[in-house]
C-alpha cells in the first residue's frame, strides 16, 4: 500500500459543508438529505405534492457544483472526468440506481445522516457498500488489471 494525493483539509471542510447542508435541511424542512432518496422521489414519485422541493434541491446540487468550478476553489482541479468507458458507466449507473433504491439509501443518507442518528440499519448498509466497493476496486485493478 502506498498513500497518494492526500488532501485532508479540503476533504474535511467539504465534508463539514455537506454535514451543515444535511443539518439545515433537517432543521428547516424536517427531511433527511439522502441524495438517492430525494432523486428517487422525482424519478418515481409516490406523491405529487412532495416533488417540488426535491427538484429544487437537485437543481441546487448542480448549481453548487457549478459555483465550485467558477469560484476559484476549483483551480487546482485540472481535469475531472470519468475514469471508465461508457459501457462500464452504464452498468455502474444501473447498479447505483437499483442498489440505492433496494437498500433505501446511499453514501449521504446512510453514511452521513443515518450514522449521525446512530441507526443500526444505516451502519449495516454503510459497511455493505463500503465493503463491496473496496472489493470491486480490488478485483478490477489488481485481479483483472483494469484501470478503474
Amino acid at each position: 500500500m502506498t498513500i497518494i494525493n492526500f488532501t485532508p483539509v479540503p476533504a474535511l471542510l467539504g465534508g463539514a459543508l455537506i454535514g451543515l447542508s444535511a443539518a439545515f435541511l433537517l432543521l428547516a424542512k424536517g427531511r433527511v438529505a439522502g441524495i438517492s432518496g430525494i432523486a428517487g422521489g422525482i424519478i418515481y414519485p409516490e406523491s405529487r405534492a412532495d416533488i417540488s422541493w426535491r427538484i429544487v434541491f437537485i437543481l441546487g446540487l448542480i448549481l453548487g457544483g457549478f459555483i465550485y468550478q467558477w469560484s476559484g476553489f476549483g483551480v487546482g482541479v485540472q481535469h475531472i472526468a470519468a475514469v471508465v468507458d461508457k459501457p462500464v458507466l452504464i452498468v455502474a449507473g444501473l447498479l447505483v440506481g437499483i442498489g440505492t433504491q433496494i437498500g433505501t439509501g446511499c453514501t449521504s443518507g446512510h453514511g452521513i445522516c443515518g450514522l449521525a442518528r446512530r441507526s443500526p440499519r444505516s451502519l449495516v448498509a454503510t459497511l455493505c457498500f463500503m465493503g463491496s466497493a473496496i472489493v470491486t476496486v480490488y478485483v478490477v485493478r489488481h485481479l483483472m488489471g483494469g484501470a478503474a
Binding site: 500500500m1 502506498t2 497518494i4 485532508p8 476533504a11 471542510l13 467539504g14 465534508g15 459543508l17 455537506i18 454535514g19 451543515l20 447542508s21 443539518a23 439545515f24 432543521l27 428547516a28 424542512k29 424536517g30 427531511r31 433527511v32 441524495i35 417540488s52 426535491r54 429544487v56 437543481l59 441546487g60 446540487l61 453548487g64 457544483g65 457549478f66 459555483i67 465550485y68 482541479v77 475531472i80 472526468a81 470519468a82 475514469v83 461508457k86 462500464v88 455502474a92 449507473g93 447498479l95 447505483v96 440506481g97 442498489g99 440505492t100 433496494i102 437498500g103 433505501t104 446511499c106 452521513i112 445522516c113 442518528r117 441507526s119 448498509a125 455493505c128 463500503m130 466497493a133 476496486v137
Partner: protein, 144 residues
C-alpha cells in the same frame, strides 16, 4: 413570503451547499474516489475525511435539532422509521457498492457533476435514473 416558497428556498440553499461541499472535498472526482477505495493499492485516504467532517457536524447538531417539536418550515420531522436489519439493506448496499466501485460515482457527486456538462456524466446519470425507476417500479409491486 409564503411558507411553501420559504421551503423551496431552504431546499435550494441546502442543495447548493451540498453541491459546493462535494466539489470542495473533490468527491466529484471519480479518480479520487476509486483511489480512496483502493486500500490495498495506491491509496488516497482523503475521502475518509469527507465522511468524518460530515459526520462530526451532523452527529453534533442532529440531536439538538431533533429536540425541537417541529422543523422551522414544516409540520413535523419525517425520518426513516425502520430499525430491523433485513435482506434489502444488505443486498441493496452490496449492489450499490459494486456500482460505486466500478465507476467512482455515488448519487450526490454524480448529480453535482452534471455541472461539468460531459457526455460520460450524462451517460452515468441516465443509467442511474433508469436503474432507480426500474427498482422502484418493481418494489412498488412486490416486496423482496
Amino acid at each position: 413570503m409564503s411558507q411553501s416558497m420559504k421551503q423551496l428556498l431552504a431546499a435550494l440553499a441546502a442543495g447548493t451547499l451540498f453541491g459546493f461541499g462535494l466539489g470542495l472535498s473533490q468527491m466529484v472526482d471519480p479518480a479520487k474516489v476509486t483511489n480512496f477505495l483502493d486500500i490495498l493499492g495506491s491509496w488516497d485516504p482523503s475521502l475518509a475525511f469527507v465522511m468524518a467532517g460530515g459526520l462530526m457536524v451532523n452527529a453534533l447538531v442532529t440531536p439538538l435539532i431533533l429536540k425541537r417539536k417541529r422543523p422551522l418550515l414544516a409540520e413535523f420531522f419525517r425520518l426513516p422509521t425502520k430499525v430491523e436489519i433485513d435482506n434489502r439493506i444488505i443486498i441493496g448496499g452490496i449492489l450499490f457498492g459494486i456500482g460505486w466501485g466500478l465507476a467512482g460515482y455515488c448519487p450526490g457527486p454524480m448529480i453535482a457533476s452534471l455541472s461539468f456538462a460531459d457526455s460520460d456524466i450524462i451517460t452515468v446519470v441516465i443509467a442511474f435514473v433508469v436503474g432507480t425507476f426500474a427498482a422502484r417500479w418493481v418494489l412498488a409491486r412486490r416486496s423482496l
